[in-house]
Amino acid sequence: MLVSELKPWPEILSYLDGEQSIFLVGCNGCAEACQTGGETQALEMKQRLLEEGKTVTGYSIIDFICDKALVKLKLMAHEEEVMAADSLIVMSCGIGVQATSAVIDKIVHPACNTINLGGVQGKWRGSERCRECGDCLLDLTGGICPLTACTKGLINGPCGGAKNGKCEFEPDIRDCGWHLIYERLKSLGRLDKMSTIVSPKDWSKMQPPRHLRPTIMWALEHEEEKKEVAAK
């Protein structure tokens, strides 16, 4: 169980500068349970995008978005809609965003911040890893997480330690994460994203209330609380 919450709307909107048509991807696994990426939320997202004058070419809710093969299979059924979109908004944990990015040659935007891991990381994940940092950066990095793909977790570009695209730590097996990010953004024609200076991360977003968050129950209770507060 990966616990996620939707990013603030202005942040999501800021990702879409210069992009008109969007394809939405949700997840019927953890994100559905957290009410951040199920069908209900996807339809809400669609409505908000339409209100902003954007076009939504379609949407797909994948059973477990951490399963890359499944993502590819499901999105193939929406091929025309996906190809017609300028970019994809993925409403899931960081693994789902990265899994989608790995199978689709388009810019993917994360709609959620992944706060906490309530069990194993996804059910069928491949090489994608999420640090549950609570402040997802995948929009800026071509859908490849710099915190997990870069050994040093650097957020502003590569260090000087990579050789032939390999990391100075375990150069025989480990890719330089920033080399992957660079190649990815270059192939998408979005190297401009690498020029953004990213502020130091707020690591406290990873912490509280961790002791309360390790179960699916927490996510559900948390949502109930929010509803109660809203009702008052």
Binding site: K152, G157, C159, G161, F169, M194, P200
Partner: protein, 294 residues
């Protein structure tokens, strides 16, 4: 003359480096620094170079400063979080050290404590930004300082990286974040360096080309295989191989490289790595004793 003044006057700036000892016998380090006194505009003090635990850069900079030698405080993000880094920058300034070279730092696996927990709370870009923030009288948390420091901030770039574009993109960020000068990774290919200088011309920031003294052909081969962003062409390796006397050959090659590149950039940074006493000979051979290009 401070490093800042040297750049301001448009002098062709020469820097070198010393590495603090593993232990507390500081004699050799100070002797090395003494050899370079009045021959260079500043001496970098490495910060646990290659992730090998040593005496600290801050203390060693202070020792140099006490002897009237201009230190450049190398600060990496590997071993300290944002609290310690900001604190050390303040400490440096209070000790009269104004030059700080902000680096990411090698990964811990490269050194002699590979089991250590790496920090990397900040990176080189944010470290520069935060140092600038301290100058405005504020720490990263936005809290007011009782007295603000004033730094001369440097950064590094690797012109030999392949591809070099990600390096340049990061260099641009470093300039935006506050870097006022750059020192480069070792360069052995003047032609490639000329291309690099063309690509970063728009940044309008002084760049000191990095020179590492080649001790042997084996060292060159080792660097080609293992050191990121460093490439020694075969012709130089053969030249070292053929030379009967390695030391004069090493000095000759370093001087030649400097001569070929000094017109392209604003200074030179010599990393002697144990051969500090050869540096004066290199400077002489390169005609840099009284060199002034502007």
């Amino acid at each position: 003359m401070s490093l800042r003044e040297a750049f301001k006057k448009g002098k062709f700036v020469i820097t070198a480096e010393v590495g603090p000892p593993k232990g507390v016998d500081i004699g050799e380090m100070l002797d090395n620094a003494e050899l370079l006194r009045d021959k260079v505009d500043g001496i970098n003090v490495t910060d646990q170079q290659s992730s090998v635990m040593r005496l600290g850069s801050l203390a060693a900079c202070h020792l140099l400063k006490d002897r009237g030698i201009e230190p450049i405080f190398q600060v990496t993000c590997r071993d300290r979080n944002r609290i310690a880094l900001q604190s050390d920058l303040l400490s440096a300034y209070a000790l009269g050290i104004e030059n700080a070279l902000c680096l990411t730092g090698d990964y811990v696996s490269l050194g002699d404590h590979p089991e250590a927990k790496p920090v990397f709370d900040l990176d080189s870009v944010s470290l520069l930004q935060i140092a600038r923030g301290l100058e405005q009288g504020q720490d990263l948390a936005g809290k007011e300082l009782q007295g603000a420091p004033h730094f001369y901030l440097g950064a590094v770039v690797s012109p030999g990286a392949d591809p070099v574009e990600p390096q340049i993109l990061k260099m641009e960020k470093k300039v935006k974040a506050g870097a006022e000068f750059f020192q480069t990774q070792a360069v052995y290919e003047p032609k490639k360096f000329a291309e690099f200088m063309q690509q970063v011309k728009h940044l309008n920031v002084p760049i000191l080309v990095g020179i590492v003294l080649l001790r042997s052909a084996a060292m060159a081969r080792f660097m080609n295989k293992n050191v990121a962003g460093v490439y020694v062409p075969d012709s130089l390796i053969e030249e070292m191989d053929r030379a009967e006397k390695k030391v004069p050959k090493s000095v000759e090659i370093a001087a030649r490289l400097i001569n070929e590149m000094k017109g392209l950039c604003q200074g030179v940074h010599i990393m002697a790595i144990g051969w500090e006493r050869r540096v004066p000979a290199v400077l002489d051979a390169a005609g840099l004793r009284e060199y002034n290009v502007y």
